[in-house]
Symmetry: C2
Subunit: 329 residues, 2 copies
């Protein structure tokens, strides 16, 4: 079936505030390194007051992925909610400027655009505190189901499960995608997020998901497994493809009985892991929707993830197409 879009994503529309931090600060705030904590506006302001200068950049897990797909030349669209404030305009500009479609109307009242404070420690790990703000205002009426029906792949971020209203909408969208011959991809997003919604995610993987993205911590949390191998055994066969990322060990893609091991790309010193999983999904899905073999999908995912960890922030600067030509051309 001919489709207008390669990938359509639904997610929280977030502006990231990157700040440098040491381990003491992570401990002082009672955070767990490498994970995401939800905070309310007062907590967000309180944390912000205690950290150093920030660097603001568009973020949001699915939004990062869709921006990456667009940068690679894919036909991408994003659905998510900002407020009509300065950060909302920054988010809107950035995702449109790489060629992704983004038409969800901005909220004209209520909470401000979502912000995620990302504490980057010297080991390049990122620890996140998210104020969801306007992004939780996304409801079924905002979902452009015509756009969803026109997508080869509908991509959902697990973080959306923290929003009850949105959750029902995503499942409806997933059904629309599948009814129109599209596939559904899900990223598990974060181990704590999986912990909060384990049962719901397990059902989702069994019933609605064709392609699952998860890192080692997330997939072991989902199945309460004692090892990566045990978790991989659990998920195998429950969805068509499971792409499991393992940081410096690369990734493993499960495809029915077959297992594809994908090597990581090291393109420079590791600076900030923000966006690594999101860009892996971008590369994977771009190759996938271009009809490439699973090995090639994993390789492009690895390459994009390998680029984004050498810079600050989750949106690749510089040309991903050039990178592809250089390394996979």
């Amino acid at each position: 079936m001919d489709k207008t879009y390669d990938v359509i994503g639904i997610g929280n529309a977030i502006v990231d505030v990157l700040v440098q931090a040491d381990d003491d600060l992570i401990e002082h705030f009672g955070l767990t390194k490498g994970t995401m904590a939800l905070v309310d506006e007062a907590q967000a302001e309180g944390l912000y007051a205690e950290v150093g200068p920030g660097l603001e950049t568009s973020g949001g897990s699915a939004a990062n992925t869709l921006a990456g797909v667009a940068q690679l030349g894919g036909r991408a669209g994003f659905i998510g909610r900002v407020r009509d404030d300065q950060l909302g305009r920054i988010f809107t500009h950035d995702i449109r400027s790489v060629g992704a479609r983004f038409d969800t109307p901005a909220a004209t009242e209520g909470p401000s655009t979502a912000r995620c404070m990302i504490l980057v420690t010297p080991d390049a790990q990122r620890t996140m505190c998210t104020y969801l703000g306007a992004s939780v205002g996304l409801d079924p009426a905002d979902l452009d189901l015509e756009m969803v029906a026109q997508a080869k792949v509908l991509y959902l971020e697990g973080y959306l499960w923290d929003n009850d209203e949105a959750k029902a909408a995503f499942i409806a969208a997933a059904e629309v995608a599948r009814d129109n011959g599209g596939e559904v991809a899900l990223s598990l997003s974060d181990a704590f997020c999986v912990e909060r919604h384990r049962e719901s995610f397990q059902e989702l993987v069994d019933g609605h998901v064709d392609i699952l993205f998860a890192n080692e911590m997330e997939i072991t949390t989902l199945y309460e497994a004692n090892s990566f191998e045990e978790a991989a055994d659990h998920v195998r066969g429950r969805c068509r493809l499971a792409a499991l990322t393992r940081s410096e060990l690369g990734s493993v893609v499960l495809n029915g009985a077959a297992t594809h091991n994908v090597a990581p790309f090291q393109l420079g010193p590791l600076l900030d892991t923000t966006g690594a999983g999101d860009l892996y999904a971008a590369g994977f899905l771009h190759a996938y929707t271009q009809g490439q073999a699973i090995d090639a999908c994993g390789k492009l995912g690895s390459l994009c993830a390998g680029q984004v960890v050498t810079q600050l922030g989750p949106r690749p600067r510089g040309s991903l197409k050039q990178l592809v030509a250089q390394h996979l051309g």
Copy 2:
């Protein structure tokens, strides 16, 4: 005389939007590489719509310098005007979070916080388009003259001369500083800015300035000189110290009949020259207000400028104190 502050700066309170650009884009917009152009809000929006994703970070020439002085451990304060909007809150957070005092009340109506779109080309040069917004709302009543009287050095940015109301206020502030035994420093900011205000700057240098900061293009423009040497001959003796920066050639400090040649620091690949002059002034003034010799002032200026050009944006990330301990300790 005992002073409460080492350096107090007055300048435009600006948030920078860093975007990557190629030379064609600079030409397409009719801009001159390495310089700053003033734009109105509609032009700013028009340009923004045509460029790629941005990275937002606090900027403003004098503000960058004062943030640098604070990061080095100096007692620093900044006077400038933001609007009470999201970018204004980012600016306020960032400068306070490094320990600089910033109390100018935010405007509650009128234009939004000033923004500067900085196009960074692959040669690491930056080309700027500034929408002055709320920052031109700075008027004499905003100048905390008690704070100015308590400064060893009052630092003014030349960009302020684009704002008629503010201009009179700065001259008044300069007189207060001197009447209280302080010194006045001026940065010429930009060659086009010098072109716009040549006569006024020449008078200012002759009558009010103790320490002048300028790069090669600015000082030759100020005296319509044919060479750096000719410009240096012109300025020598007109103010107590003239610190003239020459990019990869380092800097030259004129101190009466004496000439101090200062070598540059190369701390890594050149990534973005945004903030190089501002951080040179920060290092210089910090050493100066600690009573160090002129050679040491130039050296600290060079070191800070050398750091900031290895990163994106005009505010050093990471510890300047650590850098000093490592290279000058």
